[in-house]
């Protein structure tokens, strides 16, 4: 009896804590979620803003919170989606872009390369301001999923897939 009461209480707290989450569509297979730490002061980005972040043109979330880009290594589907939809570049162009950016001192470094979704989410949790891309179904609970143009993964209008 006591266990049942605790379970109901826990579910209620979770529901309150998650706020509008029940209203969000379930993540669709193949959608790529953008994950950040809960303390990143952004919940939603327009696609143009997302591009600016990923291109290194916007390098701070807030005055004291630097953006750290985490991108999967070549061969991962997450990377293919990010390059095709956000960067709109080939692999070679992507490399060329970041070499030039660093050469011109427009960025201190290019995106950090990560070799698995687990590493991506671990680093996203550990590094303040980090932003990572993972299969929406694998997005961990502790990280915030950003909306793009007001929609979350699973929505028909969600662009990263």
């Amino acid at each position: 009896m006591r266990r049942l009461r605790n379970s109901i209480l826990r579910n209620c707290i979770l529901a309150v804590a998650l706020g509008g989450l029940p209203a969000a569509p379930p993540p669709a297979d193949g959608d790529i979620a953008i994950v950040v730490r809960a303390d990143v002061p952004v919940d939603n980005l327009t696609f143009a803003e997302l591009r600016r972040v990923m291109l290194g043109d916007r390098q701070f979330w807030a005055s004291n919170l630097k953006v750290t880009l985490l991108v999967r290594a070549p061969g991962a589907r997450e990377r293919e989606v990010v390059l095709k939809t956000i960067y709109q570049m080939s692999e070679a162009q992507f490399r060329q872009y970041w070499i030039a950016k660093v050469f011109r001192a427009e960025a201190a470094s290019g995106p950090r390369i990560v070799y698995s979704n687990e590493t991506a989410t671990e680093l996203a949790s550990a590094i303040p301001g980090a932003i990572a891309f993972v299969e929406a179904l694998q997005a961990p609970k502790g990280l915030k999923i950003l909306k793009i143009n007001g929609v979350l993964p699973g929505d028909k209008a969600y662009p990263l897939r």
Partner: protein, 838 residues
């Protein structure tokens, strides 16, 4: 004693004797190796406590594993008379005392030996082992010039025993000052020679720490420098007075060719107060290394001017360096010294007078040179060598770069030798991981000798096994093993280089010897970063150039005076231009700045002159570029990049015959390098010899099918033969291999335009323009597509854009067949003029 067997050691002969006992050469019958057995004084045999202390100490000493410390294998007692004995590494060579008594040591040798001594002390002190009796008689110089410090820890044992004899407490050295001091003054067994190396605190019998060894080391250094003791009293008492109170003459006063910095180092080691002395052997070693580096780079002035503190523009190296080749023109204001024709000028004049003399003289020179090489090499001429990539035995990916890097570094060092053709790294890298015998590889590479190596990492140590193999006889000429800490990788490379050259019996002049062993940095981490940078640079890919730049930058951060790292940085920037990552107007100034910085630090660096030549070429300073290329080749004739890039210079200048000779020279050094082979294909292409260009490009692709630059050149040659399908196939393959590189996409567009598929060509033009919004697109690609489409105005617009970018392609205008359709246009003539190509 001779012929007897103690334990399992059969005594063979007497090696020497001294205050610490008699040393014998013996054979270890269990392991079948030759060892040295040292019996300690009989006075110790009766003292059980002393023996126990001795054994405890010996255990600590046996834990010292350092290449400059004589290894202690075993400690035991003779079953018959109970005398303790030590079993040690058997060394061949002579003591430092004997070495000093011979010819005076050169500054280089002095520093190199001193660094090894300091290194050994550092390793021992790190394990809390103090020698207490550092003196030339306890330091051995092997036949290979390696230092071995002997008798570590023994002085403590004997001193303690002596203190005990005098009634002191051996466990507390502070309890034995008077006894020991008096003992040294009165004991007839003590000699001036031994006392002369004592530190003041040792002489006073105070508690000792590692700094006592540093004082003794200072005395040894003084003696190495001057061949006399700094404290040479006629009696033990007077010697003590000298140690405690006197300041010896400066070494440079005794030997004026020594630098003042050496005086400072030795005097710091000889500080009476230990708090003012070097506090660690590492500190002493760092100063010695810095001096060696500065001496190598010619920055330390020597001689009486240096000793008196006056500035001298004549460096140690410059003073002995022979005049070398063409120098930059003197400033107009420089006073012109009266000159007379050099012997070379006499020869030239004579040759001009009689051309028949030319043939005769050249023939004589050739015969004499061949004879010289033959005789200098002891009867077997050896003038070609390949250093195969060292094998990373454990396959540890973290040290993969190191196995390549050591090989490459040795190649670079040996390439400095005259009369020795050393195959370039890119040639030999083909053999990496191949199961081919060294002799077979040597035959393929057409060399007489092959160097192979195996690298194993265990903990923080590297072990390197090296062999020099005679290709014809398939036999080992020489082999050696080096075990070093990771931080000592520089020493391994230097030692291997030197020993290989010795085996090749090249008669090196002083400067050549310095050049081969010159260390560009004393920071081994910086060196490792440089090696990693070169490793990635050699990949010639976008990713490779990015990583190489990271490593070169890190190397520079570690050692801001590391000239070679700046040359590497310049070369990485140059590749950014060549690969069209960035416009040349952004890249070339950085190439120039990095190359200039390298030359400021070391103006004898052929690599840096090559980088500067590249910058000058793309500044359209044609005269300056050629001068730098020639200087680079003069300084480092075996540097393949210098030949390849100078060959390119000659191609774009339209001097195809000279280019062919230069590129062939590069290919001799690099017979298996796709890069130099492609340079040959390019020479045929720009000389309009398309069949041979195609053949050569195909040969290049047979070496490396993923080399996209070769596919693009092959496609361009097919286009000139109007074989459009073959051309398009090559461009598509390149595009696929490069993951969508813009250059390869543009090449495909060119093939569409040339084959009259205008719509397809324009689609690609649109894609290129779209790409140019985010990443650099070489405007010359647009220009050549427009030329092929017959749109001259658009072509000239793009060329103008390229001109503003100072595109690297512009230097090809004079010879590039893609511009033939607009070559007669006055705008083209004007362009050639502006680039300095008319």
């Amino acid at each position: 004693m001779i012929g007897t067997t103690i334990s399992h050691y059969r005594i063979l002969s007497t090696l020497g004797s001294g205050g610490m006992g008699v040393v014998y050469q013996a054979e270890d019958s269990r392991l079948g190796r030759t060892v040295a057995v040292k019996f300690l004084p009989e006075s110790l045999a009766a003292d059980r406590a002393a023996i126990e202390r001795f054994q405890r100490e010996a255990r600590a000493v046996s834990a010292l594993n350092h290449p400059n410390i004589c290894t202690l294998f075993d400690v035991d007692r003779d079953r018959n008379d109970g005398r303790p004995f030590l079993v040690m590494e058997y060394l061949q060579g002579k003591t430092l005392k004997e070495h000093i008594d011979g010819a005076p040591l050169s500054l280089d040798e002095l520093l190199e030996l001193a660094i090894q001594i300091a290194d050994a002390l550092d390793a021992a002190h790190a394990k809390a082992v103090v020698h207490r009796d550092i003196k030339p008689a306890n330091i051995f110089v092997t036949t290979r010039g390696q230092i071995k410090i002997m008798d570590f820890g023994l002085a403590k044992v004997t001193e303690a025993a002596m203190a005990a004899d005098f009634g002191g407490d051996a466990s507390d050295p502070s309890q034995m000052p008077t006894a020991v001091f008096d003992a040294h003054l009165t004991n007839p067994g003590s000699t001036v020679g031994t006392v002369a190396y004592m530190s003041p605190e040792q002489a006073r019998g105070e508690n000792l720490d590692v700094r006592t060894d540093l004082f003794s080391c200072g005395v040894v250094l003084y003696e190495m420098a001057t061949r006399r003791s700094p404290f040479h009293g006629n009696s033990v008492a007077l010697t003590f007075v000298g140690i405690l109170h006197d300041t010896p003459a400066r070494p440079s006063q005794v030997r004026p060719d020594l630098p003042a910095e050496l005086d400072r180092i030795i005097f710091k080691a000889l500080e009476k107060k230990r708090d003012l002395r070097y506090q660690s052997a590492a500190e002493l070693r760092a100063d010695l290394k810095r001096l060696l580096r500065d001496t190598d780079s010619g920055r330390i002035s020597v001689g009486t001017e240096a000793a008196t503190g006056s500035r001298s523009s004549v460096s140690a190296r410059a003073a002995v360096r022979p005049p070398s080749g063409p120098q930059p023109a003197a400033a107009p204001s420089a006073p012109a010294a009266p000159t007379r024709p050099s012997s070379a000028e006499y020869v030239v004049t004579a040759v001009r007078r009689n051309w028949r003399a030319t043939a005769l003289i050249l023939a004589c020179v050739a015969v004499l040179a061949a004879a010289a090489i033959y005789f200098l090499s002891g009867g077997s001429a050896m003038n070609s060598l390949a250093v195969l990539p060292f094998v990373n035995v454990g396959g540890d990916p973290a040290i993969e770069y190191l196995s390549d890097g050591i090989s490459e570094s040795i190649i670079n060092d040996l390439s400095q030798l005259p009369k020795l053709g050393v195959r370039s790294f890119s040639s030999v890298s083909r053999y990496k991981g191949k199961d081919l015998s060294p002799a077979a590889a040597g035959k393929e590479l057409k060399v007489q000798a092959v160097v192979t190596g195996r690298l194993v990492k265990r903990g923080d140590e590297f072990r390197v096994n090296v062999e020099l193999i005679d290709v014809a006889g398939d036999r080992q000429i020489w082999g050696s093993q080096y075990t070093r800490k990771a931080a000592d990788i520089l020493a391994i490379q230097e030692q291997i280089s030197r020993e290989i050259s010795e085996k090749l019996k090249m008669r090196l002049s002083g400067e050549q010897k310095q050049r081969i062993t010159r260390r560009a940095t004393e920071d081994s981490e910086a060196y490792q970063m440089y090696l990693q940078g070169r490793y990635f640079w050699n990949k010639r890919t976008l990713e490779g150039v990015q990583q190489s730049l990271d490593f070169f930058n890190q190397a520079i951060q570690r050692d801001p005076r590391y000239a070679l790292a700046y040359a590497g940085q310049a070369d990485a920037y140059a590749l950014l231009g060549d690969l069209n990552v960035l416009p040349a107007r952004e890249v070339t100034p950085k190439v120039k700045a990095a190359a200039s910085k390298a030359l400021e630090l070391d103006d004898t660096l052929g690599e840096a002159h090559t980088s500067l030549a590249y910058a000058r070429l793309h500044e359209w300073d044609w005269t300056g570029a050629e001068k730098e290329f020639k200087r680079a080749i003069e300084l480092n004739p075996s540097y393949p990049t210098a030949h390849a890039w100078y060959g390119e210079y000659l191609i774009v200048s339209g001097r195809f015959d000279a280019a062919l000779a230069e590129i062939n020279r590069g290919n001799e050094l690099n017979p298996l390098s796709p890069v130099t082979n492609l340079a040959l294909a390019a020479r045929f292409y720009y000389a309009r010899d398309y069949p041979r260009a195609i053949e050569q490009a195909q040969q290049t692709l047979a070496m490396d099918a993923s080399f996209t630059a070769a596919r693009v050149l092959l496609g361009r040659a097919w286009l000139e033969r109007k074989a459009y399908a073959q051309a398009a196939a090559e461009f598509r393959k390149a595009l696929q291999l490069s993951d969508g590189d813009t250059n390869d996409l543009a090449a495909l567009g060119l093939s569409f335009a040339a084959s009259r598929q205008a719509a397809e060509a324009r689609k690609i033009l649109d894609q290129l323009k779209e790409r140019s919004q985010q990443t650099y697109v070489q405007p010359m690609w647009l220009a050549v597509i427009y030329v092929a489409l017959g749109d001259s105005d658009q072509a000239f617009d793009s060329i103008q854009e390229a001109y503003e970018d100072r595109s690297t392609w512009l230097v090809y205008l004079k010879v590039d067949p893609l511009f033939d359709p607009i070559r007669q246009d006055p705008r083209f003539t004007d362009l050639l003029h502006r680039v300095g190509l008319n």
